[in-house]
């Protein structure tokens, strides 16, 4: 009885290992064929332009590309900072207070989560476009129609629209985990409410700021749908890649630029993850 059981157990161990490998096979095939191979091809194509490997430096050396890169980084940074401020004020408030209508308010703040970038772009057109609400109101008040949807300010507003729901959720989860005892202690030691916020609450939220800020930043760097809907001549990196590829048929440059963009967004998210310790992914 005992030896037979042993033998059977060993048999199972071996075939089980094989079974586990078999389980990985479909994913391995899909990933190799449709992700690794194409990515390798993209990297190679980036060096196949007239400049060769130096094509990868064009993003930094060529003045037009460099200006676009700076533009994109500034826009993404502004989006991140403003989103974090807005989401922290609103998220902290919603997590710390209970009042009628609170859950409706939370639902209103998070329902745009599944909107694709194109839809967000359309929301901005309805707000700040030619027939937009802001233009109507400003026309009534000052006799002048304010229209800015199709500029970089419209894009900025679009990225805020996109990022606020995501960041609010992260901040609310982080506030919930805060140890209120620390705040009580600081207050009982005579700290002012502002000092408690500055020295106790905000430092404790730092990992959440880093994680959600990185997502907002990486998304704003790489998002394409919103910019595409608002205008094809907004000067940001994804639009540049798109026009280089489709209008100029400049495959090597667009490949090099998108490898550069991918590296930047990946690095930001990887750094944020090693800092905050939780999984971080871009969206959009």
């Amino acid at each position: 009885m005992v030896p037979r059981h042993n033998g059977q157990g060993r048999h199972h161990v071996i075939s089980h290992r094989r079974f586990v490998w078999l389980c990985l096979l479909p994913l391995a095939v899909v990933t190799a064929a449709f992700f690794l191979l194409p990515m390798a091809r993209l990297v190679v194509t980036g060096a196949e332009g007239p400049r060769g490997l130096a094509g990868y430096l064009a993003i930094l050396v060529e003045p037009r590309y460099r200006a676009t890169l700076i533009n994109t980084v500034l826009l993404a940074a502004a989006t991140t900072v403003v989103t974090l401020i807005v989401a922290t004020i609103a998220g902290m408030f919603l997590q710390r207070h209970r009042f009628p209508g609170r859950s409706v308010l939370i639902a209103m703040l998070t329902f745009p989560l599944a909107f694709p970038g194109v839809v967000v772009g359309f929301m901005i057109i309805l707000l700040a476009g030619r027939q937009g609400l802001i233009g109507d109101v400003s026309n009534h008040l000052f006799g002048e129609k304010l229209v800015f949807a199709y500029s970089i300010y419209g894009l900025f507003l679009g990225y805020l629209y996109f990022s606020i729901p995501r960041v609010i959720l992260t901040i609310m989860a982080a506030v919930q985990k805060l140890d209120r005892g620390l705040e009580e202690a600081a207050r009982s030691l005579g700290a002012s409410p502002w000092a408690v916020q500055r020295d106790v609450v905000l430092p404790a939220l730092a990992p959440a700021f880093v994680a959600s800020g990185a997502i907002a930043f990486a998304t704003a760097m790489g998002a394409f749908g919103t910019a595409f809907t608002l205008a094809t001549n907004i000067d940001v990196l994804p639009m540049l890649i798109y026009t280089e590829f489709t209008l100029a048929a400049n495959f090597a440059t667009s490949a090099a630029l998108s490898v550069g963009l991918g590296l930047v967004t990946w690095l930001i998210l990887a750094l944020a993850r090693s800092f905050s310790g939780s999984a971080v992914a871009a969206a959009g």
Partner: protein, 261 residues
Amino acid sequence: MRDRLIFASQLVFTLLVAAFLVVPAGLSIVAGVTVNYFRGIQSGVTLQWVAQVWELYAGTIALSFLIAFATLAVTLLAGVPAAYALHVRGGRLSRAIEELITLPLAIPGLAIALALLLTYGGFSEFRRSWLFILVGHVVFTMPFMVRSVMAVFGTLDIRTLDEGAASLGASPWRRFRDVIVPNAVPGILAGSLMVVTLSLGEFNLTWMLHTPLTKTLPIGLADSYASMRLEVASAYTLIFFIMIIPLLVAMQMFADREQAR
């Protein structure tokens, strides 16, 4: 008194943020059923724009659902066994593989689409079919399925379950089918909701991969935003909302249940 002032100002601020998010969505819903948006809702309420969208774009909606469910099928078939294997194996290699398949989340869709075009754009039969879009959606959504299933395995003692069934003489395949998969159902459902929602709304990849004959719903949306009157674009967006909001609500309910557990 001071506390109430702080409370009131925070409430007003939060309400303003909510208005920023909700008002344009409301405007789009109103515009989609207004006879003439420029003259306002007084011009009358109509479903003619919704009907026009249906006439022009019903094909995009059907194709979007086809691609979303095909993406779901592929991510289930490849993702669930892989999540099991990665969890059971553990170790460095598994973490590296997990890292690798998560990479598409950190890379802009535009870059992945360019890579696919440069590699497979020459296979014109494949390039022209909806399968080309499917491939992009699979790469983009796979990490959500694998991670969501792995998260459930993390909370269960899957090894003990597996070994228990093995000691009863069940083959690896039967254990997988009868023990592992039933236990992973919450993760599979959560992952499936994510995959379908993301696929239905995917634009960045799809815009590069589509052809005039393979337009999905978000492609049609972009098309209507660029070339149709505001009322038609709004009616189309309204249809998209109606499709996506039940999925969102289901996802939220899932998240709440997970939190309650």
